[in-house]
């Protein structure tokens, strides 16, 4: 995780870039939740997740999807610590 580097605060998209090749939890504006391995991100926050699953309330697996591209504008928030946001899913995988 980046943080304060030389007194300067890294901007939020930089945090996202640093999370490439790690597992993340994503919540969309329509309430859909995904857990997957972040492969690619861009300046509009579009994401490509590998080995992704759709989950409900951070607990129940609804579907296994494999690779999924998520449009940045649909994102509500992203957790870099899926083991906390969806402990049952990450632990079981």
């Amino acid at each position: 995780m980046p943080g304060n580097q030389g007194g300067k605060v890294a901007n939020p998209l930089k945090y996202l870039k640093e999370a490439v090749d790690t597992q993340i939890y994503v919540k969309l504006k329509d309430g859909t939740e995904y857990v997957g391995l972040l492969r690619v991100t861009d300046s509009t926050m579009n994401l490509i997740l590998d080995d992704s699953v759709e989950v409900k309330d951070g607990k129940q697996v609804m579907a296994k999807l494999g690779r999924v591209l998520i449009r940045g504008s649909m994102i509500q928030y992203i957790s870099f610590t899926p083991e906390r946001a969806a402990p049952d899913i990450v632990g079981a995988k």
Binding site: L13, Y25, Q76, T81
Partner: protein
């Protein structure tokens, strides 16, 4: 002439860095956490975040909140 201390949204957000904030989101949910970073879109990075909804609260860890779903940000003591 030196103008008196001017308030700007950017300055105020800077004061909230590393402090605990309550963020109201579109759709009735809200999150609380320590503000680590923000940008001009109001994308936020929160540490030790907690989601607060009608169902209760839930721990999320470190999160990035997309700016366009932010409704309001308020510091918590």
């Amino acid at each position: 002439m030196a103008s008196p201390e001017k308030v700007s949204t950017f300055k105020v957000m800077n004061e909230y860095l590393n402090a605990s904030v309550y963020v109201k989101l579109r759709g009735g949910e809200s999150v609380k956490g320590v503000l680590k970073s923000f940008d001009q879109h109001l994308n936020l990075v929160l540490d030790d975040a907690e989601e607060i909804s009608g169902k209760g609260s839930r721990s999320l860890g470190t999160i990035l909140v997309r700016g366009d779903s932010v409704v309001a940000i308020s510091p918590v003591k």
